[in-house]
Structures are given as structure tokens and as C-alpha cells.
Symmetry: C2
Subunit: 116 residues, 2 copies
């Protein structure tokens, strides 16, 4: 979770004045919308119906989600949330588009001091 | 690529009348929007600037993208596309939201006859 929070708050994925990905969300004056998404854990390898066996049970997932939000707010970021477990229509304009996958199972590179 | 095209066209990720994920995109009367997204290939493990070394070179990526679109259209689906390599503002309503990752590197399960 430290990894996720650090990456979300520190990744330089917003453009600077020169159009380069160089600014973090706070440097870009942005805020964060956290929406839990158990369908991301779907396995689609077997047949055509997604399997959600790898998703955390709802209670545990909800706790993890709240904790990510709490820790992100501790960094000073403005954080909005969805409603856990609800069907929602999330309207957005995907600018770029830029979509980056941060996988907490990967974690920092071994021996990469910059991550500590 | 066969794997991606088959999964996109056949995955039952749309709700039926009972609210179950049971219908494919064509059964749901839907169409497909294909937008190439090299930022998905970003590695964020090292530091705070994403590395795009794993993304295909633009020319190759563009060919692959066109081929996916061509093959999806062959299945009878209506397919729209983004502009390859362009900065775009993709407006959408993420319904659910449902986001499923289909990774062509995984491919079918060994010995899974249903995938052939």
C-alpha cells in the first residue's frame, strides 16, 4: 500500500509547460478520484465469462480502499471517492489519453534506493 | 492477436435482463471504440517518471492496432477508432464501472478447449 500511495502521489505523469510528463498530481494542481474496481481483478483466460475469484472479499476490499484514501489525504492531496460496491456512471474526459497501471504486487525494484 | 479479438468480441461482460454479466458486446447491441494507448506499457517501478521502453515503436504499434480493428470488423462488430498517436480528449461514461484487462501475453490456458 505504501507503494501505491507513493506512486499515485509522486508519479510525474502530468505535462509541464514544455509538454513533457514532468509534474506530479499536486504539482499540476490536481486532485485524485479513487474508485474501487473489482472487475480489474477479473480473469478472462477461461472461457468468455470473467472470473472474479482473485478479487478481495468486499469487506476487506473496502477497508483497503479507505486506507489508501486516508493515506493519500495525509500527503496533502484532495481526494474524492466513489461509493464502494455501487454501480456508478463515472463521467470523465480521458485526457491524452494516459492510463498507467500501478501494480502493488510488483513493488519497488530490489535495491532501487530512489524508491525507499 | 487472435486472443485479443476473440476476447473483445466474445467476453460476456454486459448485463442481461437479470443484471448478470451474460451478454457479449454484439448481444448487448453495442459497438467498440479502439484507442491505442502506449502509456499502458509504462513501467513505473523505477523512480517517479514512467518508462516507456516496453511500448512498441509507433509504426509497429499502428500496424497492430489497425489489424485488431480490421479483424474485429470481420466479426460483424461496428468499430470506431481514435487517431493513432494523437493527444485526444476521450469523453466517456464509465458504466459500472467495469474495466477488464485482456493481456495478449497470457493467451489461452493450456489445454483449455473452449478457447480454440
Amino acid at each position: 500500500m505504501d507503494y501505491l500511495v507513493r506512486k499515485i502521489s509522486q508519479l510525474r505523469i502530468f505535462e509541464d509547460a514544455n509538454g513533457k510528463m514532468n509534474r506530479s498530481v499536486s504539482e499540476a494542481g490536481g486532485s485524485v478520484l479513487i474508485v474501487s474496481q473489482f472487475t480489474l481483478a477479473a480473469s478472462v483466460r477461461k472461457g468468455n465469462r470473467p472470473s472474479f475469484e482473485k478479487a478481495e472479499p468486499p469487506e476487506r476490499a473496502s477497508e483497503l480502499c479507505k486506507e489508501v484514501v486516508r493515506r493519500l489525504r495525509e500527503t496533502g492531496l484532495s481526494v474524492s471517492t466513489g461509493i464502494f460496491g455501487a454501480m456508478m456512471a463515472v463521467s470523465l474526459v480521458n485526457d491524452g489519453p494516459v492510463t498507467v497501471i500501478i501494480d502493488s504486487r510488483e513493488g519497488p525494484l530490489p535495491g532501487w534506493a530512489g524508491e525507499r
